[in-house]
Every structure is written in C-alpha cells, then in structure tokens.
C-alpha cells in the first residue's frame, strides 16, 4: 500500500480497524477528538459500532460490556478523560478482559491545558485504579510506530486478557506524518475466546466479574494476574537504541516524541564531538529494566540523563533500574512546554562540565 499523509489521531483510528476492532466508544476531548471524528465516518463503512457515550465513565463501562462478548473493543481519550475511566479499567483487569485504551496526553494535573505532555506516566504504568493490577503500556515516537503498536496492542490485549494502553503526548495525536498500512494484517494465532459471553444456548452460562467475596478466590485471582505480569516482563519488553556505542559518555533515556528531540540533540552534539547515546523504552510496562541496567553499567558511561515532558516520573523507574551504578539526573519541561533540542544540548554540556577535572590552584 502506498504511503499517505495522516494525522496521528486518524492513523491510530485506521490502525484499529486494520487490527479488526469492531466496537469504539468515546467521549470527545482535545487533543484526541479526531480519532472519534474519523471513526464516526469509517466505523459505519466497515460495519462496526461507533458510539459516543454521555461521559468517559459511561464509555469505560461500555467497554467492559462489549469486551465481555469477545469483540475487539477500544477507546481513546486524553488525560482527564482517562482519569475518569480508571474504575472500569481496574474492573476489566480484575475480570481479565482484553481492551485497548489510547491516552493522547495533555498537561495536568486537573483540567490542566490542551498542549502536549507526558505527565500520565505514573497513572499508566503503576495501575491508575485500585487493586493489584497493571496494564501493558506502549509508547510510540512516530506516527508509523503508533500504527504498528496500535495493531499490536489488540493482539497483546487478547494474548494476556488484560487492558493494554498506548500513550502518546498530544503531538502524537496532532502531528502529520507519512504512514503505510499493511495490505493485510497478520498476527500470530490466539486461543479461541472460550471465556466470552456469547449466548448460553447449549452450554452453562458464563459469568464475567471482578467480585470475589471469598478472600481465597480473590487472592487466587491476584496470583493469576501476577503471573501474567511476570510473563509480560519476560516476553513483551520493547525498546530501541539510538547511536549507543562504546564512545558514549552519557546515556539519555527518553520515550515518545521526547526521544526524537533527544535524537536531534545527539546529532548536534556529534558535530561538537560529544558522543551521547539514547535508550528509548517502547514498552513502559513492562519496563526495560535489565537493558537499562546493562547500558548504564558500561564503563564508558559517566552519567545517565532522563528527559521527559513531565516532572521526573519515568526518572524513578530509570533510577531504580540503574541501581546506583551511575548518577542518574533529570531534565524536563511540562504543562505543555516542550523542551527544544537546544535545551537538551545545554543540559548535556552542563553535565560534562561538572565532570571535567578542575585545574588545581598552584600554591603560593
């Protein structure tokens, strides 16, 4: 298929259709409303269901119901809307239902603003609702990657019977880039959805719930979920390295579009003969802990610098992964302010200056 020019929000919508999603429920919010707008045109064309709920609470509970039937279901929203959905996400994790949720993040907390941010990292990666659960979190840095990860998200949701979240700062939703869709989407085989409530004719009714009054059963469920998260840690860690080499003095860690700003900064520094590498987590849960531990532990690395469009959120995971081998520093802007490549270069130069041996003063 030839490349076409798409806004991130449209590309995410089309990717979901390519992955076989048939039910989309939404409530509009900037900066992701184009997903809904696009699907209001496209869903009827493919015979799917497009439904705008009366609120994000309604939408998230519609997902619970529709997912119970075994259909591929999803929603998209932005930060405050995702907060409103947390209760139902916890219920879906507890009931082991596959669902895909996209968060095109804007500045917060509260109503915040409508400009791009990455401030929902904690909410996404640490279980935004109540209970012992996690959601698998993917973070694209280009529109093409958003397409690829969106299709993968449906597969992983089914594979683990767990909510999968794709998060991107507002720019991922709003910017335009050339993208290509596969002619026919192929994915590895999945087991039949024998758990789905599809009508009880000729068999026992299936009850899908997250309520277990017997503490033994509730703990059993928590262990089942735990085992799935351990399996994700083994099988679903995704990351990318940019110009990582034995010449690097500093290792940057950044995700999403922030990583692209870091790449421009790295290219600029290369001209000044300062070698910096970038480690970009693609899966934020499971987090590429071991890989960051190994990269940061290399002899040539003096410092690790985490750069975010938020206030030191992923920093905590990186610092934990580095386990004290190196100094881990943080730089970020937030509230809709996006650090420029020049800002990143300046931070790196400051770190290098700090490490320079100071000239000893001669004794008088």
């Amino acid at each position: 298929m030839a490349k076409i020019l798409m806004k991130g929000n449209e590309a995410i919508a089309e990717a979901a259709l390519k992955a076989g999603a048939t039910n989309y429920f939404c409530y509009p919010i900037t900066p992701q409303t184009e997903v809904a707008e696009y699907l209001s045109r496209r869903m009827p064309e493919v015979g799917g269901v497009f439904l705008q709920g009366e609120s994000e609470l309604a939408v998230a509970n519609m997902l619970f119901g529709a997912s119970s039937t075994g259909k591929r279901v999803f929603t998209t929203s932005s930060s405050p809307g995702i907060s409103l959905m947390q209760e139902a996400i916890s219920y879906m994790a507890g009931a082991q239902l596959p669902v895909v949720i996209v968060n095109i993040m804007r500045g917060g907390p509260g109503l915040g603003g409508i400009l791009p941010a990455q401030s929902d990292y904690f909410q996404a990666t640490k279980a935004g609702g109540h209970g012992d659960y996690r959601v698998l979190v993917l973070a694209p840095s280009t529109i093409q990657e958003a397409v690829d990860l969106m299709m993968l998200a449906f597969h992983l949701a089914d594979k683990y019977r767990n909510p999968v979240m794709m998060i991107g700062d507002g720019m991922i939703g709003q910017m335009m880039e050339p993208v290509e869709f596969p002619e026919k989407y192929k994915e590895p085989p999945l087991p039949p959805k024998t758990w789905a409530a599809t009508g009880a004719k000729g068999r026992k009714p299936i009850i899908i719930k997250s309520l277990y009054l017997d503490p033994n059963l509730l703990e059993d469920n928590a262990w089942t979920l735990h085992d799935k998260y351990e399996q994700m840690k083994k099988e679903e860690v995704r990351f990318e390295r940019y110009k990582v080499s034995a010449k690097n003095r500093i290792l940057l860690v950044a995700y999403g579009t922030m990583a692209r700003i870091c790449q421009t900064a790295i290219d600029e520094l290369e001209k000044k003969r300062i070698s910096v590498g970038l480690f970009r987590p693609i899966s934020l849960f499971p987090f590429p802990e071991k890989q960051i531990y190994q990269e940061a532990g290399k002899k040539n690395i003096g410092d690790v610098l985490v750069i975010e469009m938020s206030m030191a959120q992923m920093y905590e995971d990186v610092d934990r992964a580095v386990r004290g081998q190196k100094q881990v520093s943080f730089f970020g802007r937030t509230g809709g302010i996006v650090p420029s490549p020049e800002d990143v270069v300046e931070q790196i130069e400051k770190l290098i200056d700090k490490r320079k041996p100071k000239a000893k003063k001669k004794k008088a």
Binding site: K3, L5, K7, T30, P31, G113, G170, P178, T257, P341
Partner: protein, 243 residues
C-alpha cells in the same frame, strides 16, 4: 546552476483580491500555505498587495496553527491577528472583533487561515456579511495524499461541505500535494493532475501550486503551467530544523 535557481523561473502567484480565505480538509497544509503566502506577498510581492495581515481563524485544531509563526511573521512587517493570552493556546470558538474590523477596514491584503473541513469553515458564516462577492478569493488547499481528498469525488464532497458550512462560494484551487519529508517530484506533479481534474469539473482556476522550495528545485518549470509558491516550512515539529 545554483541551487534553487530554477525556482526563480516559476511564475509567482498573483493576488488580485483584498481578501484571501484559505480553507481545506484537515491537514491539507492550509496554515503552511497561508503563512508562506503572507511572507511571499510581504517580501517579494507587488507593492499594491501590501500591507499584509494574516488572521488565524483556526478554532478546531489545537496545535500547528499559523499563530505559531506569529513572531517570525511580525519581523517581516506582517500583522498577525489571533487570540492572545491563555486563549492563544485554546481551541475555543473565539472570533475577535479585530478580525471583522480588519476585513472591513482593510488596507492591502488580508489572509484568513481557516480551520479544517466544514467544521473549521463554519467560522466563516459568522463573518459572511463582511465578505463582498468579487472582493475575496475563497481557495481550497488540495492534498491528494490525504485520505478524504485522494480523488476528484472526495475533493468535490469536501468542497461542497465547506461551501455549505461557510455560506460562501469557492473562487479557486491551490494544489498542495505533499508527503512532508517524503515528497518527491512525482508527488507534486501527481497532485497537479488531481487539481486540474477538479478544475475541469468545477470550472474553478488553479490559483497556484505550492511545494517545498527544495523539491521545486528538481522540477523543470515547463512541467508546471500554473503559478508556483515555493514553501519554506515555518510550522515545524520541535525536533525539526529548516536546514
């Protein structure tokens, strides 16, 4: 041949109306065309077009709007009108009184950069009584690589939706087919083929073709028989540079 030399031999766009309203589908490149047209008229255009005012009427997109180029446009002596303060960053339906006043009391050329699709063009209906037929150009920016304007029927549908919501009639077309950094000579020329087909069906002229100056430098001027506006991107992503 010097780099960019062939660009100089393209015929520049000629603007004969005091108001140029730029509309189009989402992501057709309206804002980039609008700011580049403003710059062209302010720096290379005929004196009778000046002074130049650009008004950002985009109330549907939150990012990548012409207001992001305000400071650079002002340096060129272009007046930029858009909501100020916190509202500059909002996507609220705010129509400043300056805009209507700027249209009625205009001196020189006023370029209106309007939001995408019929939703974005609805803002024009609230200004409709300020537009006198014959005194404005209503131009649609066409990009053949966008999903809903990839063929003539898609373009005609989008145009009829925009005419419906704006309560104005089109006077011309702008061929702006591109794929951002993946744009080739073929991309630009295939877009012109589509624009011509739309022109044949509607009777509207192709006012000009716009494309990046870099790609234009690889196209023979004789291959493009309409005026050409070379673009230098002014609405960049944070990691992009112009060199």
């Amino acid at each position: 041949m010097l780099p960019g030399e062939s660009v100089l031999t393209f015929q520049p766009p000629s603007i004969t109306k005091g108001i140029v309203i730029i509309v189009g589908g989402y992501g057709s490149g309206k804002s980039e065309v609008a700011v580049n047209l403003a710059r062209h008229l302010a720096t290379d255009g005929p004196p009778e077009n000046r002074p130049i005012t650009i008004a950002d009427l985009d109330i549907v997109n939150p990012y990548f709007r012409s207001r992001e180029a305000t400071e650079r446009l002002q340096q060129l002596g272009i007046q930029a009108i858009h909501p100020r303060g916190g509202s500059r960053y909002a996507d609220l339906p705010i129509i400043l009184p300056d805009i209507k006043a700027g249209i009625i009391n205009r001196n020189g050329t006023v370029i209106l950069d309007v939001g995408g699709d019929d939703a974005g063009a609805r803002v024009l209906s609230s200004l409709a009584d300020a537009f006198v037929p014959g005194e404005y150009e209503l131009a649609i920016v066409l990009n053949a690589n966008r999903p809903f304007t990839a063929n003539v029927d898609g373009c005609l549908k989008t145009m009829s939706e925009i005419e419906g919501s704006s309560r104005l009639k089109f006077t011309g077309l702008i061929s702006n087919t591109h794929l951002l950094e993946d744009t080739s000579e073929e991309t630009v020329l295939s877009g012109l083929v589509l624009a011509r087909e739309v022109s044949d069906r509607t009777g509207l002229p192709v006012l000009f073709l716009s494309a990046s100056a870099e790609v234009l430098s690889r196209i023979e001027p004789k291959e493009i028989d309409v005026p050409v506006l070379p673009l230098t991107r002014m609405l960049l992503k944070p990691w992009e540079t112009n060199d």
